[in-house]
Point group: C2
Chain length 253, copies 2
Amino acid sequence: MTRTIKLTLRYDGTAYGGFAPQPNAVTISALLREAIRRATGEVPRLAVAGRTDAGVHARGQVVSFSTASRIPADRFPHALNAHLPHDVVAVAAEEVPPAFHARYDAVSKVYSYTIDNSPFPDPLLRRYAWFVPQPLDLGAMRAAAALLVGRHDFAAFRSTGGAAKTSVRTLHRLEVAEVPGAPVVGRLLRIEAEADGFLYNMVRILAGTLVEVGLGRRSLDDVRAALATGDRTRAGRTAPPHGLCLEAVRYPE
Amino acid sequence: MTRTIKLTLRYDGTAYGGFAPQPNAVTISALLREAIRRATGEVPRLAVAGRTDAGVHARGQVVSFSTASRIPADRFPHALNAHLPHDVVAVAAEEVPPAFHARYDAVSKVYSYTIDNSPFPDPLLRRYAWFVPQPLDLGAMRAAAALLVGRHDFAAFRSTGGAAKTSVRTLHRLEVAEVPGAPVVGRLLRIEAEADGFLYNMVRILAGTLVEVGLGRRSLDDVRAALATGDRTRAGRTAPPHGLCLEAVRYPE
C-alpha cells in the first residue's frame, strides 16, 4: 500500500548548496533522498514547499513523498534522523491524503529575515543574521513594509531564474520587529514575511529594500515606483542568504 | 602615560578551550593577548570578569588591561578586531580609572542558559542550547529556582577545581522563561541567573538541577537538602557547556 508522507524539516543551510538538486554541491534534497533510501529502500520523488537557496535556513520546511514502506508515519523523523547529519533534522511527519503536494497545496509560507544591527557583528549570530552596522530607521522601514503588503505585481522584487508565470502575489504580512532580550551592544531586527507564494529571491529583495529605506538610501516613493513599474533596479539589493529562514508553511485545515 | 582599558567581548566558544590560558588548547585569552600585542606592541596582563570554560559563549565578557599605547579607547574594538577571528569580537572599550579590575570590581554577573526542549534538536541551536527532549514542568522548575534565590552557601552547586575561599553567594535572580517566537515544534527555555559571583560550574549545576526538577527526577526537598547540606550529590548534574552564555557584567555606576 502506498502512502503519502508530509515531513517537516529544520536545517542549518550554512554548509549546503540549497534544497534543490545541483550537480556540484551537497544539497538538502540529496541528503534527504539518501536518508529515505536507507530507511525504506526506496528512492522517492520529493515535493518541497520552498526551494531554499544555498546558505538559507529552515525551521519549518515541508516535504512530501509517497512510500510503500511500513514505517509508521510518526516514526519517520527517528528513522530518517539516523541517516541525516546533525544540521538537517526531521522534526515531524504525518500521513496525508495521496494527492497532497507540499508546494501546490501550501496556502502560505512564512519567512524570517534577521538583521544584526550593531556596531560590531555578534559572533553567535554570524551564520544567521545579516550584519548591518549603520543605524536603521525602524519607522521608515515599517512605513515601506506597509506599502508592500497586499496583492501586487512584485516583478521588481524577483531575480531572474525563477520559473513563475505571474509575478502577482499576495503579501499577507511584512513586519519589522526588534527582537526582545537586547544584547549589551546594538540590537537585533527581525523581518517576518507571509505570502501566498514568493518569487525567486523575493524575501531577500524585500529585506534588502527595507534595509536601504532604513539607511535613508531609498525613499518610500522608490518603493511605490518599484511596485508600479516592476523595474528591478527600483527595489533594493538582494540581502545575503544567511539571514533568511523558512519558518513555516501553512496548509488548509 | 599608562591607561587602563575596559573591553567588552563577545565570542562563540565552540572552537575554543575557554577563556583562561591552557597548555594544549587555543583559548580566548591567548587570542586576545596576541591581538593586543599586534595592535599595540605590548603584551598585557589581562584581568577577566568571568573565566568561561571550554565551549561556553559570551555576549558581554569584560576584560581590563593597562596600556601605554596611544590608541584612543573607543578605537580599541576596531584595532583588535583586525587581529581577532570572526568568532571573537571586541564590541566596546572605554578608559577607566587606573585601579579598575574587571573581576574584583564587578558587582554582579548575568549568565543565560538555553534549553532546546523539543522532541528533536533544532539544528540552528545545536551549538547554543542543551537539547532536552523530555517534557519539562516549568512550574516545578520555577518553584525550585525560587528556593535558590537569595544569600546561601552554594557548596553543593560547585565543581571541585574552583579557588574560591567561601561558597556563600547571593543569587539575585534565577528565572526560567519560555523564549517567545516559538518554533514550529517544541519550545525554547532560557534560564537567566544573576549573582554577586558564581562558583566554579555553578550556573551549569543550577541549570542541571532545574532540569532534573523539571523532569521529576529531583524534588523541591532535594533542592532544599542540597542547600542545607552542601552535598554536591544532592544537586543535579552539570549541564553541558554549550548552553551557557555570559551575558553581562555589572559594575558600580
